[in-house]
C-alpha cells in the first residue's frame, strides 16, 4: 500500500486536479448549452474530490476525512445532477431551448 504515495509525488495529483478544474471553468464560461455547463461543473467537483483524496492520503493517512468528503461530494453531485437536469428539462419543454443566454427573465 505504501507504494502509491511513495512512487507518485503529490504534485502530480494536484496538477491533474488543477487541469481538470481549469477545463471545468473553461467549459462553464464558454458553453451556452445548460447541459454542457452542468457537465463542466461536474468536472470541477471531481477535480476538488481528487484534491481532497490526495491531500488526505499524503497529509494524514491515518484519517479518512478526505475520503469521506469525496463521498459526500459525489452524493451531493448526484443529487444536484438529478435536480439540475430536471430543471433543464422543464426549461427546454417550456421554451424549446437549453441555451442559458435566452433564459434571462430574472435579469434586472
Amino acid at each position: 500500500m505504501e507504494a502509491v504515495t511513495q512512487q507518485i509525488p503529490l504534485e502530480h495529483f494536484l496538477a491533474l486536479s488543477a487541469i481538470l478544474f481549469s477545463l471545468g471553468i473553461y467549459g462553464v464560461l464558454t458553453r451556452r448549452n445548460a447541459v454542457l455547463i452542468l457537465m463542466s461543473v461536474e468536472l470541477m467537483l471531481n477535480a476538488a474530490s481528487i484534491n481532497m483524496v490526495a491531500f488526505a492520503a499524503y497529509a494524514s493517512p491515518e484519517l479518512f476525512t478526505g475520503m469521506i468528503f469525496a463521498i459526500f461530494i459525489i452524493t451531493v453531485a448526484a443529487a444536484e445532477v438529478g435536480l439540475a437536469l430536471a430543471i433543464i428539462l422543464r426549461v427546454y419543454r417550456n421554451r424549446g431551448t437549453a441555451n442559458v443566454d435566452e433564459v434571462s427573465d430574472l435579469k434586472w
Partner: protein, 632 residues
Amino acid sequence: MGMSDAWLLPLLPAAAFVALTLLGPYLPRRGDWIAVGAIGGVFVLTLLIIADFTDALAVQGEAFAGVANSIQWLEVPGHLELRLGIHVDAVTIVMLAVVSFVGLMVQVYSLGYMKGDSRYGWYYAVISLFIASMLALVLADNFLLLYFAWELVGICSYLLIGHYSHLRSATEAAKKAFITTRLGDVGLLIAIILLWRETGTFNIQEVIAAAEAGQIGTEILTASVVLLLLGAMGKSAQFPFHVWLPDAMEGPTPVSALIHAATMVVAGVYLVTRMLPLIELVAGGPELLLAIGLLTVFLSATMGLVMTDIKRVIAYSTINSLGLMFVALGVGAPAAAMVYLFTHAFFKALLFLGAGSVIHATERQDVSQLGGLWSKMPITGVTFAIGALSMAGLPFLAGFWAKDEILVSLLDNRAAFVLVLVTLPLTAMYMTRVLILTFFGEPRDPESHEHAHEGSPFMTVPLILLAALTLVSGFVVFDQVGKAMGFPGGIGEIIFLERAHSFEFDVAVGIGSTLLVALGIATAWFAWVARPSVPARSLALLRPVHDLWANKYYLDDLYQAVIDRVVLSIARVVAWFDRNAVNDTGVDGPAYATRYAGYLMKFQQTGKLPNYALGMVIGVVTLALVAFSLKA
C-alpha cells in the same frame, strides 16, 4: 364655622358643578336650585367667617396675622412638596364678601335673565365652577393653588363668554379673552417657579418673608416681579392686554357683571395687593405699576367716550376703574385700592345687571336703538342711574368716596394726580351719555320700545339690593362706620394690616373732583339733551380723533395683524419646513438614495450565466491572490 374651615367655601359650588354636569338634564329645573343653593350657602358661611374674623380681631387686635390651614397634595420625598391650603386675613375677607354677595345676586338675577336659554343647566354649572375657583383663588395661601384657581376662572370666563356658541363673534371673543390672559399667565407661572427656585416654597407669606430677608437675588426678584405683573395685567385687562375685556361683552350680561366687572378681573388687583411688599422691593416696580395704571385709565376713558354699545361703554369704564386701582397700588396705597375694589364690585355689577335688564327687555344693546325707557322700566332706570353716577363719581355715592381715597393718595405725585383728574370729566361724560341715551329722549327704535317691560322680581330685587349697597357702601371709609361694624380702628386699619391707614377725607380734593365730575355731566347733558346737534357737529370737526378712539387706537387690528401675518406665517413656514425639509428630504431622502443605488446596481444582473460565473472566478482568484500575498 371658623376661619380655618373656610376651605368648605369653594367645595360647595364645586359640588354643585359636579352635580349639574353629571345629572343636569335629569334634574328638575335643570338643577338651577342646586347652584343657587350652593352660592346661598357660601354667602351664609361667609357671614359666619366674617363674624369669626371680627371676633379674632377683637381678641388679638392688630396682632392678628391671618389663619392658615393646608393639606398635602403631592410629594416627591426630599425634593418637592406641593400643598393646597387656605389663608384667611383681612384682604381675603374683603374678597370673600365681594365674591359671595355679588355671586349670589348674579345667580338670582340669572334665574330671570337666562330663563329659556337652551343651555340653562350648563350655564349654572359653569358659573358654579367659576364661583368655586374664584373663592379658591382668594383663599389660596400658596401660589400653586392660586395659579390653579387662576386658570380655572380663566376657563370659566372662556366658556361663559362663548355661551352663545352659535355666534361666531362670541366664539372669537372667548378665544381672544382666553389667549390674551393666557399670555399673561405664562409670565405668572414663570414668576411663581422662579420664586420657588429661589426660596423652595410656594407659600405666599413665606416667599414674601424670604424676599424681605433678602434671600432672593435682585435680578431674579426683578424678573419675577415683572413677570408677575404680566399675569396680573392680563387678568385685570391692563394696557396692553386690555383688548379682550370689551369683546368679552359677547357673553350673557350676568356673566359680565360677575366675572368681567366684580370678581375675576379684579384678581389681578388682588394679586398685586398681596404681592405689593415684593414689588416695592424692586427698584422701579411701583413706578411701572403706576405707569401701566395711568396709561390704562387714560386710554379707556377716551375709548369709552365714543362706544355705542351699552355693555361696551360699561366695559371701558371697568378698564378705567381697574386702571385706577393699579394707580393706587403704584403709589403704595393698597387700602385705597381695596376699598375701590370693594365698592366698585357693587356699582359695576349693578350697572351690568341694569344693562342686562334693558337688553332683556328690548333685545337691543346699541344706544342708538334705545332711548325713552325711563317710564317703561322705572326700577332699572333708577338703579342704573345710581350706578352710572357712582361710576362718574358724584358725591356721596360709593364711587365718590373710593375715588377720593385714590386721589388723596396721589397728592404727592403731581403728574399722576393731574392725569387722573383729566379723565374724571371724561368718565362722567360717557356714563351720563349712556344713561341719557338709554333712558331719556325719544325711543329710537319704537318697536322694541313698545314691548319693553320690567323683568321679574328675580331681576329687580338684585338691582335694588346692589343699588342700596352703592348708596351706602362708600361710608366704610369712615372709621366710625368701621368700628360700628366690628372693625376696631376702622376698616382702613384692618384691610391692610401691614400698613395701617386711617382713611382721610380731603375736602379740597373732594370739592375739586366734584366740580370736574359736574363739568363732565353738564357737558353730556348739554350735548345729548340741550343741543342734540352738538355730537354730530363735533364729530365732523373731530373725525380723526373719533376714528382713532372708535377703532380702539388700532390696537386690536395691530394684534390681529401680528397673529395673522406674523405668527401664522411662521407656523406655516415651520410646517412647510417640516414637510419638505425634514420629512421629504431628511427622511425620504435616504430612502430614495437607497432605492437609486439599487437601481444602479441592478444592471449587474445581466441575465447571462457566464457573466456570473466569470464574476465568481475573478472573485475567487482575487481572494486567493490576496491570501497568498498576505501570507508572503
